[in-house]
Amino acid sequence: MNSLLYLAVQLKKCMKYVLLLLPTILFLSCNASKTDSPEKTENIEDVKIEYAQHFNLSLKDNAYFLEILDPISGKVESSHTIAPNEKHQAISLSATVVGMYAILNQQKQLKGVSSMDYVYDAKVKSLFKLGNIKEFGDETTNSIEKIISSDANTILYSGFGDEFPNQKKLEALHFTILPIYDWKEIHPLGKAEWIKVIGALTGKMDEAIAFFDKVVKEYNELLQLTESIDNRPTCLSGNLIGDIWYTPASESYVAHLMKDAGANYRYAETNGQVTLQFSIEQILKDNENTEFWINPGYNSKSKIDKFNPHIKHLKCYNNIFCYSPNMSKFWEQSAAEPHHVLSDLIHIFHPEIKGINTLYYYEKIN
């Protein structure tokens, strides 16, 4: 058995040479990571998924069966069997996934990230310094040869609707490629529930479930603080990019958080999940009395003034809050810990509510 394992490791190290034989491999090989759905007659146990919309997870004979669902059609996009004791050495091109590995204290199973510029976790940083974690660039700039010659066998990426570059070639070389659609989840707890996928991959499902349950409990306790509030201040989000103001639609993650935090999102009456676009004139007219502005994309008024010089005429210009003082901390942690985001927003919109005294991610821009 040991000699077989040794042989497997040596084979993997030589995989870059296999590139030469790719056409033959592609023709002959079957897809190793993707699997068909288990037969209905088999004894399978569903993992409880309460909020997330874009994946299913079930358990049979200690192996997890993961289905990634297409965020638009809701149909199964890909299926993967995660065998027990199977080591998933991952390259994560998504910052939120890096955060989930950190929460489960499984940073050693990470072999790569997109760029260290976006990493907050101290342990990931030290593993990078030791050479155990490498930078692979984003989905458009990574090198297939660098991926093949790494120690990784799993790629986790944000999945913007297209396949991962060279996906078929990598799957033929037994790479598991998983699109992570946490960013498409509307409910903040749905985003956080993706930690169960990371739990399955790292063999830490019990810890992932325990963490998620704790987050749900804290989130719902905070929600109770604002449920009966009548005085809901109006809030605006987003900023100008060029001449267009991009702001979340009413059924988006940010709009959901604003509502849960006891605010009245200015564009709550719109429909859908697609990002809204407005001219600066429309924004000025609609937000004459808006009191708060969150997520402007900058952390100083000088930068805001530079690209949006007209916004200073609005009342909410004196109440701008951003998460950018520590952008990588926010991107890495906030998806899995939405209770901290909610707590911040409640404190911003309702400072009169007792029990919340500090801001975790957000900061007022002065």
């Binding site: 990019i241 001449d243 001219s279 000025l284 004459e288 530079k306 690209f307 007209h310 005429h313």
Partner: protein, 332 residues
Amino acid sequence: MSISKRHTIIILVLLLLLPIIALVHLFAGQINIDGSDYLSSIFSYDSTDSYQIIAREIRIPRMIMAIIAGAGLSIAGLLMQTLFNNPLAGPYVLGINSGASLFVAFSIMTGIPFFTSTLGITANALIGAFVFGMIILFFSRFLRSQVSLLLVGLMLGSFTGALVSLTQTISEADELKVFTLWALGSLQKVEFGQILPIFSVFFTGIILVAFTSKSLNILVLGEENARLLGVNIKKARLFIIILTALFTGLITAFCGPIAFIGLAVPNLVRMIFKTQSHLTLLISCALTGAIFILLCDICIQLIEPHFMIPINVFTSIVGAPFVVFIILKKLR
């Protein structure tokens, strides 16, 4: 050279059209702003009234900036075409805009606050435009064919484009964002308070250009003849490059790169006026350019409820087919 009667009539029509179209432009946005809002926004401004804010801070500066950009780029294009005796020359085609963009990119990527300020960006755009004007002038002395000069301009554009891309790949996220947003181009970033200084610089340029019209008329006859007629060629060339850089740099700094105006408008004007009188051409280019960009911006505002198009994209959509038409006409 005096202005003929026919030309005077056309110029008067353009002079009449400009304020009418400027007024239409003021009322073309999605939000209904009436005349009283405009009057109040100027004479009894209430900074808490959103309609007055839109009128004073967005619509009026946007309209004035459109006029300045259209007139300035068209004049710059005419100057380039006369200087290089090439109807396809223009600040965009010959890489003058690219020079301004490159210097702005370098200055922004340094991350030094002064360089990212309005003054810093303006200064760098002006210097970049001037330096690249001098480079193209240098090459023009060795090139006899008009096509070769355009190819050099094209290469300069590609070269600076590659340098800008390279700078972007090694820059910090914040600086990258600043440059990307600047490069998108916009007529509505200018504030009411900035209008007077911008207009003053523009007006100075217009006055200086008026003085060069005689030299430009003589330059059309060829360098040798111009020299015989007493024109200091070296000085004239340098002066034209400085003026081109002034217009291109000023407009590029405040609006970002705007394509094809400098190429299409002077050619359109030449087709209508059929004259070599540069006083006529300069006045007509300024008026036609201003009207052209105002019309483009009115179209953008009418389309705005459905989708938004940056001004640079729209002028390219309209301008590029016209340039192809000019080339085909020349080939015949």
